[in-house]
């Protein structure tokens, strides 16, 4: 069963972390990511560039398009990365995501597989 894990957090909070600590956190995340990928539980994923780089395209019911600066929801927490994971069930997904070695809010969404 595939799930998408949306990894969210506060960009401001992240920016406030001292550089040395941030480097250490990244190292831990990389180790964890590599282990889970090698085990086949993480299929793919990326860290995203900050929301200031985001562009939102909205298509209304009549087909009109508007292009705006910024993410589609302005919130304190924003998506900073994602992973596609492949595990047996939600309990395994929760267990896997619980191993994320840094402060974050992680949303687990089952992928619609046809």
């Amino acid at each position: 069963m595939k799930y998408m894990v949306l990894i969210a957090g506060s960009e401001d909070d992240r920016a406030a972390i001292p550089e040395a600590d941030r480097m250490q956190a990244y190292a831990q995340i990389r180790t964890w990511w590599n282990e889970e990928s090698a085990a086949g539980r993480i299929v793919e994923g990326y860290e995203l560039q900050p929301t200031e780089t985001a562009t939102t395209v909205r298509r209304d019911p009549t087909g009109n398009l508007t292009v705006t600066d910024g993410p589609f929801v302005e919130a304190k927490e924003s998506v900073g990365g994602y992973a596609i994971i492949d595990v047996a069930d939600l309990d395994e997904a929760i267990a896997l995501v619980s191993g994320w070695p840094a402060e974050a809010t992680l949303e687990i969404r089952p992928v619609l597989e046809s």
């Binding site: 069963m1 799930y3 047996a88 069930d89 939600l90 309990d91 929760i94």
Partner: protein, 419 residues
Amino acid sequence: MTVEQRSAAVDERLATTVREERSRLVAALVRVLRDWDIAEELVQEATVAALETWPRDGIPENPGAWLLTTARRRGIDRLRRDTRYRERLALIGAELRNLTTSGSDTGPGTSGPLDADDRLRLIFTCCHPALSREAQVALTLRTIAGLETPAVARAFLVPEATVAQRIVRAKRKIRDARIPYRVPEPAELPARLAQVLTVLYLVFNEGYLASDGELTERRELSRDAEWLGSLLVRLMPDEPEALGLLALMRLHLARADARFTSDGAIVLLQDQDRGRWDRVAIEDATQLLEGALRMQRPGPYQLQAAIIACHAGAPSYAATDWEEVVALYDQLLSLQPSPVIALNRALALAELRGPEEGLAAVIGLEERLDSYHLFHAARGVLLRRVGRVGEARRAEERALALATNPAERRLLEERLAAN
């Protein structure tokens, strides 16, 4: 016997059987079919088939086995018809055919005709942390306890449509997000257990003093909760809160016979014939509680059980150790601040220090408990004790307007009629 009489007898036996067997069947069918809606539908279809067949052919010797067999056959038919399940038929069909009854068992406390762990699996899945608490409780009451949606809605004090929607959404999430159907691993158990205990106690209370209709005390449901509690304790013998809850339920059940007159009227604690209490059961439950307390990890269920043990161990109402009862309520409030617990504490305080002090404590809760019938009933009792009969009557009228349980309504009506 007229046709109508026979039909009524069938309805009653069927209702009893369905209540007893339903959760077992659903739990087993969910395991085999991995589809909650179909499992519940099959049990429902089997029930309808029984209503058609039994009045004509008579009630079978083992109605639970009959229902299971019917649900199973219809399950296989259903799997054949439904293209979505055709692929799984080969795999599941054999398992479904193997669902057999072992004959004589019908009551809780034995392993049952199906896998005894099925209902435990069902409970842990219903109480999965990925579901909201409201959904956990609604799903458990609906699926395991077999309560109809209106009864669940009354327990929650929310509209029926809300409960129905919660159940639909929860089932959809179990399926779509693939919440596993299993008893958690040892490492996960303590956290998962806390959620289950809350739900079980709600189920117990729903059974202990039911709010729906003709059966004042749906003892079956309380016994089922007690049985599930004992299964939990067997699974987790070192978890004091599970023991505390089991002791609490057993202390209630040990005195259940004295709580109502033969015609269903409530007998208050102070008026109960303590000779009708099951002293052996009280002693056993108290020992169970003492075992839990020795583990030195107190919790709300152990404290509630300790309060009930004070009552159950007292030779008379007057000889109750009210100081201990009030002290236990204080501890309970510090762990679990709740206006309903504060109301019960106020009533104990009235016994310890007199009705004026109890009344003062009760009145402070008005804002939070104004829509709770027992708040007004308790206020009525204390107002009568201090001689303010007019105010007492108004409080009791308000309680009567809010109460839905027929036995509670009758008690209030009698009080109002007496003076």
